[in-house]
Amino acid sequence: MKTATPLQQETVSSGLNVRQLINRYSTLIALAVLFIIANFVSEYFVQPQNLTNITLQIAVNGILAVGMTMVILTGGIDLGVGSVVGLTGVVLGMTQGYGVVPAILATLATGIIIGLWNALFISRFNIPPFIVTLGMMTIARGFALYLSNGAAVSLNENKFYEQLGTGFLSVNLSAVLLGLIALFVAFVGFKAMRQKSFNLESVISFVLSLAGIGLFSWAYLSYQGVPYLVLVFAVIVLWGIWVLTQTTFGRYLYAIGGNAKAAYLSGVNVKKNLVKVYVTSSVLAAIAGIIMTTRVGSADPNGGNMFELDAVAAAVIGGTSLAGGFGTIGGAMIGAFIIGILNNILILANVNPYFQFIFKGLIIIAAVLLDMKNKQQK
């Protein structure tokens, strides 16, 4: 192999040609195409209310996908999250009499205990995560049904839950918040652009991120403001991105998934980090459970059924490798949006709802196929 001189490297990085760009951003482009198609399918699609609704619908899957991406990065999987959403919803419903804070703490504690249980069998007894969490999928569901006697538990009238599930930050405050976010993104994006001497790639990502913020700002501000639930979702996503890109914990997740043995021999405490990641995933599932319950106003013990598969799908569509070592939260969010928008279009187009499953399946396969082809070309 010949070594590229620094000079050659310079031209390579700034001269990313159009085809390479298309390859690298194929899922983002797919999302954009889907967005344009959606406009043709129904003029209702770009209405502020619909766009607001889409983000509300995506929130639960998006939160689960953050945890799922982290788990999959280590080469594992967490199939229990859907049932945990159901169980934690029931726990919230059943403990609501003790007050908001105790109920939420009890719900989060449920998530922590489940995560520790998973981690115990995975990291201490070396049982494959697939098996341990498959077991948890049934165990958590069983507890949800047992505790609720199989019936939905409705939430009593409570200002906090109502606001969290269905409330909006006032339009004025939303405008301030979104303005600040736009400024922040513009600032960070401009710095990144300057660092990469304004190459095509950096300019495109700068324009795209501002366009995305602009679109949703418009939607929220011309409707009722930013939903509280979306705020929670956004905070979790930003936290997830921060963990993976800025912390040692995030780096260790990539290292463990890439080569657990090398990571261990480099002093990485593999077991401890696995415990952390499975607890994270279950706690995020508990938060998703709280959000879903407050949004609907009642906890269905069957709630969250198959949500784990949507979370895996979002991660995988977003380029996360099931073998571990590769993947980003940003990618998983694009995946979650693709799934969410697809569902929305199919509903708007009055397609038989059962087709949603078929389309989702086809998209997952197509996304991975595309991803593999891109990697081969590299």
């Binding site: 290292a255 002093g267 571990g324 070592g325």
Partner: protein
């Protein structure tokens, strides 16, 4: 008579020309050594020959027996009688020997089921012919790497290969296995099989090859009969410059004892026997202690156990800088100032999915981040760049994936990872395995720099010239014990081998 001819081969990867107009011939029944530094293009050339890179993805032509061949895949190359035994073995561990030998070309009965009788009979014949004491039904996973390699050769023989490529075949073999391999090569040669032998080990090449062809930077540099060139001439051909001194050993005045083991023993995970028994050793600052011995003598087990990576309880005491330590995991060892470059960099040294920067910082990540675990990216980048410069790692940038680097440069990244943590005791397990001559010398020079800076080095190596060339003292291991110690002045290949085979 010319058996194989490759003419004007040109192969490009994105951004790199791997082969530039390479021409290459091999006679019938000849053992041809293909030499070159890592990254010179040997593997690429052999992948073209064996159909891994299909016809059309490269320029130039391949002639076998004067016939132009256009292989679309490896199967077509096999049909033309070309078999390749890769450095990384291609056997399926969960299948039996017989199943592996006949994989993909199982003979059928008239009912269309697999003719197991024939499979087992023919495999048995092959095993007998190669003097291998296995049954066809034995699982491949139960064999050592060396034994698995013999099975690969059996497979090649069974497809009646007329051209056999051996890529670094001895890198994981014991002395006696190498002898066995050479006997088989001679036997195949007598049957007019043409062999292309890729290796970095000059002794082996002189022992078994007839002719040498050298590649450098993707071009053919030249070809010569074994007796016609000296070793130094060959190295100059490969590296393109004169390496006057292969082992640039600089002796240091030894300082304080940095690592000391007393009656260190480790029981086997099963049964009552000892994996390691009564090991006593001391390493001083500025010293290189060579650890020699045959495969399975317990050298790797010793350093792995010392590093807390073996998962077995140890007896006796370990002292680092005069203080007794209890190391139960690699993280403990690292805290005590030990560093371990493992023998297999791809399997346990590098995280191949990460880039040079991320691999370099892996051990010292905590010191590059705040107490809450927030990474300092600027310091991390500076660290990676510093070691790229200091070790002269050839990489497009710190952000390049380590998977794309050559073996020598990958090893430099592993070394950088450990040096970044300023170790007191650096343990090197086969530090130059599969690395080209130029990079080897650079690693030796690095060892000199480290000992000059007061580092203690333990070096395991199966290459005796390396052990002799670089060690201040040599400890020879046999059957889990220290069989003896030789000071630099008294050590010879013979004295080491005598100790290594003691009691065996």
């Amino acid at each position: 008579m010319i058996k194989l001819e490759m003419k004007g081969i040109l192969k490009e990867f994105p951004g790199v020309r791997a082969l530039n107009n390479v021409t290459f011939t091999a006679e019938r029944g000849e053992v041809l050594a293909l030499l070159g530094e890592n990254g010179a293009g040997k593997s690429t050339l052999m992948k073209i020959l064996s159909g891994v890179y299909a016809h059309g993805t490269y320029e130039g032509e391949i002639l076998v027996d004067g016939q132009v061949c256009k292989f679309a895949n490896t199967r077509e190359a096999e049909h033309a009688g070309i078999a390749i035994i890769h450095q990384e073995l291609n056997l399926i561990p969960g299948l039996s020997i017989a199943e592996n030998v006949f994989l993909g070309r199982e003979p059928k009965t008239k009912f269309g089921t697999i003719d197991w009788k024939r499979v087992h009979r023919e495999t048995q014949e092959l095993l007998v012919r190669l003097h291998l004491p296995f049954r066809p039904t034995d699982l491949v996973s139960a064999l050592s790497v060396g034994q698995q390699q013999m099975i690969e050769i059996a497979k090649a023989i069974s497809i009646k290969a007329e051209i056999l490529v051996l890529d670094e075949p001895t890198s994981a073999l014991t002395e006696s296995e190498v002898e066995k391999l050479f006997a088989i090569i001679r036997e195949l040669k007598a049957q007019n099989v043409t062999m292309i032998y890729i290796s970095h080990k000059m002794d082996e090449i002189e022992a078994i090859c007839d002719r040498i062809t050298v590649l450098r930077d993707g071009s053919s540099v030249g070809s010569a009969l074994i007796g016609d060139v000296t070793r130094n001439e060959l190295i100059t051909m490969m590296v393109g410059r004169d390496i006057s001194q292969m082992f640039p050993k600089v002796e240091q005045e030894p300082g304080a004892v940095l690592l000391s083991l007393q009656n260190y023993s480790v029981k086997k995970s099963q049964g009552n026997g000892y994996l390691l028994q009564d090991i006593n050793l001391q390493v001083r600052a500025g010293e290189v202690v060579g650890l020699a011995g045959l495969m399975g003598a317990g050298r790797t087990e010793l350093v792995m156990s010392l590093f807390g990576a073996l998962g077995l309880k140890s007896e006796g005491s370990v002292q680092v800088s005069g203080r007794t330590v209890h190391i139960q995991a690699p993280s403990d060892a690292i805290r005590e100032g030990l560093a371990l470059v493992t023998e297999d960099r791809k399997e346990s040294g590098l995280v191949l999915s990460m880039n040079v920067r991320e691999n370099t910082s892996l051990v010292s990540l905590q010191s590059l981040s705040s107490r809450l675990g927030k990474l300092d990216h600027k310091r991390e980048q500076a660290l990676a760049q510093r070691y790229i410069n200091e070790l002269r790692t050839k990489t497009p940038s710190a952000e390049a994936n380590v998977n794309n680097l050559s073996g020598g440069n990958q090893q430099k990244v592993v070394l950088a990872k450990w040096l970044a943590n300023n170790p007191k005791v650096l343990i090197l397990d086969e530090p130059t395995r599969g690395i080209d001559v130029g990079a080897k010398v650079e690693i030796y020079q690095l060892i000199n720099q480290l000992t000059a800076a007061g580092c203690a080095v333990i070096m395991i190596s199966s290459e005796l010239p390396e052990v002799l060339g670089m060690s201040d003292r040599i400890l020879v291991m046999a059957e889990g014990r220290i069989a003896g110690e030789l000071p630099r002045a008294q050590a010879t290949q013979e004295s080491i081998m005598k100790l290594a085979t003691k009691g065996a």
